[in-house]
Every structure is written in C-alpha cells, then in structure tokens.
C-alpha cells in the first residue's frame, strides 16, 4: 500500500462556549471526535454530512488554517502542525482550497490577476510580474476563461465564472491536493454541471487529489470514489462510493439516501417514517440514538466504534 498523500490521524476539535456561571469552567462543544482518514494520490475522497456536522472544520484543519485540539495531519508524510512556519508556508503550494460562495471567495477590490496570482507567494523562487501575468493568463484559459480577463474585477463575472477563477487560483501552483468545500453547492444546476466537468478534466490532466465536501449526495456520488459520512463530528460510515451508496449499512446513511427527492415522479421512494425517540441521547450513547429507528438497549451506554472489513467501515451495533 503506497504512502497516502494525506493522513488524518485522531483529530479532535473543541470550541469554548460562553460561560454559564461567572466562575464555573466554560462548557465545551466537541466539533470533531477522533477523525482518521487517508487520501491517496489522484483519487476523490467525499465527505458527506448535514450542516453543522463538522465537515468544514475538518477542511480547515486539513488546510492547516485551524489548529486541532489533538491529533495531527500528515501531508506527504510531513506533520503539518509541528513544522516551522516558513516551511509550512512553502509546503502550502501543494494543497489549495476552493470555497462555496462565488461572491465571498474573491476579494472584490482586487483584479483577477492579483487574485489568481496570490498563491504564487508560496513558491520559493520569486517570479517577476511578467512571469506571473503569463502563468495567470495560461491557467485562465485552462479553466475556460479568456487570458485578457486579468485586469477585470470579480463583479464583472457570473457565479459560474467566479468559481472558475477560484479554481484557477487553486491550480496556479500545481498543487497535488485540492480541498473543495461545497464548491458547487451555490451554483445553479446547469452551471454546476459545467464546473463539475471542469474539475473532472483537471483531475485527469494533473492527477489531482480532491477532498470533496458537500451536503449534496448525488453530486458526491457522481464525483467521488471513496466517501465518509459524518454525523455530529464522528465518522459513522466509510467506504467506496459504489458500496456505500448502493448498500448503506448505517441507519443515518440510509435515512439520508431515502430523504433525497427522486427526479423521477413515478418512483415514490419508501419514505423515512418519523422516529419516536425511545432512548435519550447522552455523552456515552451513540450520537444518532434519538433519530434511529433501529436503536436498542446496547446503543445507550456505549458509542459504537468504526469497524468493518474490506474497506467498508460502519459505527453501529445493529448495522445490516
């Protein structure tokens, strides 16, 4: 098994909540509970979960934009969280990020040249203005925009075009990993298709690794070949996209897949019956217990571990 490009080892992330009483210790919200993942070269790894499940926190930790409370991330075998700042800065050229909001991820007061060329600061060798302009022009044409757009400003482009600019910015330093955090969720269906096709072409051309984060199951199924489902900061099921989408084991994944409205009006999928919570959720119990239709006594006093064989892991005592 060759060395993974990214190894996420035992990541925990806690946030301090405002203090209830003046002198009492501030309560803590645990956003991530011990995440372990491996991303291999040239593959697309999907992270799926509802809003607030911690997938964006994980993205920021992988990008070393946020410190984990414990655990670490190895990129190409190097530990991102204890290396000198200068070294981290140069290492950043190998992993870049594409964001969700086309209107929020580009600085409105900078022209396209300034925006796309920004990651070039991470390169050791200093490029002249002409070199930078030439590289930006080249990458713009690759993402389907024209090279003369360099001195335009973001407000002169549509949502889809802005997302192409964001992808150009992420690609300029020839990274091996791109973290795409809901990168097509804010786009209309037809524009989404164009951007997804672009990302697929680029992946094939540059053997890119994608960490594809989304709440949209059909997009994740289409784009990724490995996927992990996260619920309240914990991975509840993980495996190849094919097995997970066609034979989901964890009740949460099953509920998610059943909830997606099918485009074909004929097949009325069997609905999620409303669940009357039998057991109360505690810190010790399985996090999904109050929404699970298969909850039993065993789920109450200990949280299930993520186990399984041949790559299909699930965290549930009654998975079938």
């Amino acid at each position: 098994m060759k060395q993974p490009l990214v190894k996420i080892k035992g990541i925990y992330k806690d946030y301090q909540l405002p203090k209830k009483f003046l002198f009492q210790k501030a309560p803590v919200f645990r956003a991530l509970h011990g995440i372990n993942l491996e991303l291999h070269h040239g593959t697309s790894f999907g992270i799926v979960g509802e809003s607030g499940c911690g997938k964006s926190t994980l993205a920021r930790i992988v990008m070393a934009l946020d410190e984990p409370t414990s655990g670490t991330v190895f990129f190409d075998g190097q530990d991102l969280f204890n290396m000198p700042a200068a070294k981290l800065k140069h290492l950043r050229r190998n992993f870049q990020m594409v964001f969700q909001d086309p209107y929020g991820s580009l600085n409105p007061r900078k022209n396209i040249l300034g925006i796309v060329a920004e990651p070039l600061d991470t390169l050791k060798e200093k490029l002249s203005f002409a070199q930078k302009k030439e590289r930006v022009a080249k990458i713009l044409t690759e993402v389907g925009l024209n090279a003369t757009d360099t001195d335009k400003f973001p407000h002169e482009f549509s949502g889809g075009q802005r997302q192409r600019i964001a992808i150009a910015r992420a690609l300029i330093t020839r990274p091996s990993l791109i973290v795409a955090d809901e990168s097509v969720s804010a786009l209309d269906v037809s524009v989404q298709a164009q951007v997804l096709n672009l990302m697929m072409d680029l992946q094939e051309k540059y053997n890119l690794t994608y960490m594809f984060i989304s709440h949209d199951l059909s997009v994740v199924e289409y784009v990724t070949d490995q996927v992990a489902v996260i619920y309240m900061g914990k991975i509840v099921e993980q495996g190849t996209t094919k097995t997970l989408f066609h034979g989901p084991l964890h009740p949460y994944t099953q509920t998610l897949l059943r909830a997606v409205p099918d485009v074909n009006p004929l097949n009325k999928k069997q609905k999620n019956k409303p669940v009357i919570p039998l057991f109360k959720k505690t810190d010790m119990s399985c996090p999904f217990i109050d929404r699970c239709h298969k909850a039993t006594k065993t789920c109450v006093d200990n949280a299930p571990e993520l186990l399984g064989n041949d790559g299909h892991l699930v965290a549930c005592f009654n998975a079938e």
């Binding site: 209309d188 709440h215 099918d262 485009v263």
Partner: protein
C-alpha cells in the same frame, strides 16, 4: 370557475440598467386542491411571479395582465382590499427561515397576528387556534412554548412556524417559495411532507417554487418551467418530466447527476448546457434560449415562440421541440 386565473401577466422592475421586463406573458390557472410547481434557475423570475400573486412587488414596479382570484382581479384592488386578501385568502412561506421571522417577537404572537387581523376572534379563541395550528405543524405547545423566540429554534422548526403563520386563516392558496432550500435533506423531507399533507387535508391549492427538480417531482402534480422570465414548458409533472420536449428542460435534466450515476465508473461527463443565462438587458431577439440551443433554427432567432400543444396537459414554447426518438 377556476379558483385562480393568471392571464398574460407581465412585470417590469427598475434595475441598474433601467426598467426591465422580468416576467412576460405568464398564463396558468388553478383549482382548489391543485398542486403546481414552478421550476427554473435563479433569476428566471419564479419568485417574482409569487410576489406578483401576493402583490408584494416593490412600489416602482409595473404589472400588466390579470390575476383573477375567486372572480376578482386583485391587480385592480386598492391596498386595503389587497391587505384583507393577503394572509387571509393567500398564504406564503419564504426561503430563509433564519431571517423570515421577527427576532424580537415571540413565535406565539407572530402566529396569532394574522388571526387577529382577519378572523377577529377573541383572545381565548385565538390562543386555542394558535395551539391547534402549532400541533398541526409538529411543534406541540407542550414541548415548544408559545413564548419562545425564533433564535431558540432550529431552521426546520422556524420553517414550521412560518407554515403555521401562512395557514393560520385557512387560505385558499398556499405559495411556498423555495421552502426547503436552506434546510438539510432530512429536514427538507419532513417539511415537504408537512406542506403536502396540510394542502391535502384542507383542500388548499399549493404553488411550490424550487430550483430542485427532485422537490418538484415529488410534490407537484403539474409544473411550469421558466427561463429568463418566460414559461418555456408547462403541463402535468408526469408529461413534462417523462417526455420533456423543450431543449432547455432536457438540458436541465441531463445536467443533474442522478442518484446511481457515477463518473468514476463510466467516465461519462454531465452534458451541461453551453454558455450562460443572458443578463436581463442583453436578452436576444426571438427565443431567449436560441443562442445556447443546439436545435435552434433560423426562425428561433427572429420570432418569439408561441405555445404549441404537445399533449392535452402539455404545452411547450418552442419551434423545434424534442420528439421521442431525439431523447433516446
């Protein structure tokens, strides 16, 4: 006599590029109990249509055509009469649960407001009606007190309060403008079921607006597809979704990664519609979709297409609609 008839509705709004016609020649009619979906991408005018029905358009807009509700053209009514219809005969649910409720007012007061206004009940009767409504929308007063504030509820729960407010006076028509776009898929399923059950139980006509084809497929009985302010295809959901004939509708469907398809397996790309939606002030003459359409004829570029009937419940605005074998 139909409950609601919209005849040749055109709305012009002031934009940065001067007045632009955002909706042109929209026609449809609804009976009690009908469930109609309006689908289209952002900027196609679907929300404006809803706001026109509620006459909530900005002051500096001009509306032409007729909206006949129970025999009266509401475009001709003065503002007091309109206010007596809004919330009373037509209810509306909005997209953003986070900002659509007054943050400094208790949810009980916000729900009872339209009851006081329209039904003139006593305090006690109103209170009963509100608790009954809250139970109906799945927020039993026992668990969710009426004195709660919006920021103490989740997105899905706030949307339920919105629904309670919209149906408080048993309106004839309920308009839901992207009711679940801001919600998670599991919560979306519950809210859509709730809206459908409420419409069925009270015989309300439902207009559901979304950019998500799946939501429309599972909720609406007939559907209107809109593009740059015009309806391009209309008919029963079965007809339109099963054998769509407008190239834009076909393009929309083939752009969606259906559950079950995957590029990793068959390396197939989504066939996306080339180009992008033209700006309002740059719309071409003739059919607006012409220069993105692979089937465009010469006539498409000159003349606006008229409605042609493809089946008894299925019309399309296209000179060169798709036939069955094109779609194989």
């Amino acid at each position: 006599m139909a409950l609601l008839q919209v005849q040749d509705l055109c709305v012009t709004l002031n934009t940065a590029h001067g007045p632009q016609e955002v909706i042109s020649h929209i026609n449809f009619s609804m009976e009690a109990g009908d469930k109609m979906g309006i689908v289209g991408e952002s900027g196609c005018g679907k929300s404006i249509t809803a706001l026109a029905l509620m006459s909530l358009l900005p002051r500096d807009s001009q509306t032409r055509g007729k909206i006949i509700l129970e025999g009266r053209d509401i475009l001709k009514l003065n503002s007091n009469k309109i206010c007596s219809i809004r919330g009373n005969r037509i209810g509306m649910i909005f997209q953003e649960p986070m900002t659509a409720l007054n943050p400094v007012k208790q949810i009980g007061a916000q729900v009872s407001e339209s009851i006081y206004l329209h039904l003139k009940l006593t305090r006690k009767q109103t209170l009963e009606r509100v608790s009954e409504l809250m139970d109906k929308v799945g927020l039993p007063v026992s668990k969710f007190g009426l004195n709660l504030y919006p920021h103490q509820l989740s997105g899905g729960q706030r949307q339920r309060v919105m629904i309670a407010m919209a149906i408080a006076c048993n309106p004839e028509i309920l308009i839901a403008d992207e009711p679940t776009t801001a919600l998670d898929v599991t919560v979306q399923e519950q809210i859509l079921d709730l809206i459908r059950d409420l419409a069925d139980s009270s015989g309300m006509a439902l207009i559901i607006i979304s950019h998500d084809l799946g939501v429309i497929a599972q909720t609406a009985e007939n559907v209107m597809v809109m593009y740059t302010g015009q309806s391009v295809e209309m008919g029963s959901t079965m007809d339109v979704f099963q054998n769509m004939s407008h190239p834009y509708t076909y393009g929309l469907f083939s752009a969606i990664p259906h559950v079950g398809s995957s590029v990793q397996l068959d390396r197939k790309r989504l066939n996306s519609i080339p180009g992008q939606v033209p700006e309002l002030h740059l719309r071409p003459r003739g059919c607006n979709f012409a220069d993105r359409c692979s089937r465009a004829l010469k006539i498409c570029k000159d003349k606006e297409p008229m409605a042609t009937r493809v089946a008894d419940h299925h019309q399309v605005w296209c000179y060169h609609p798709l036939t069955c074998e094109d779609k194989k």
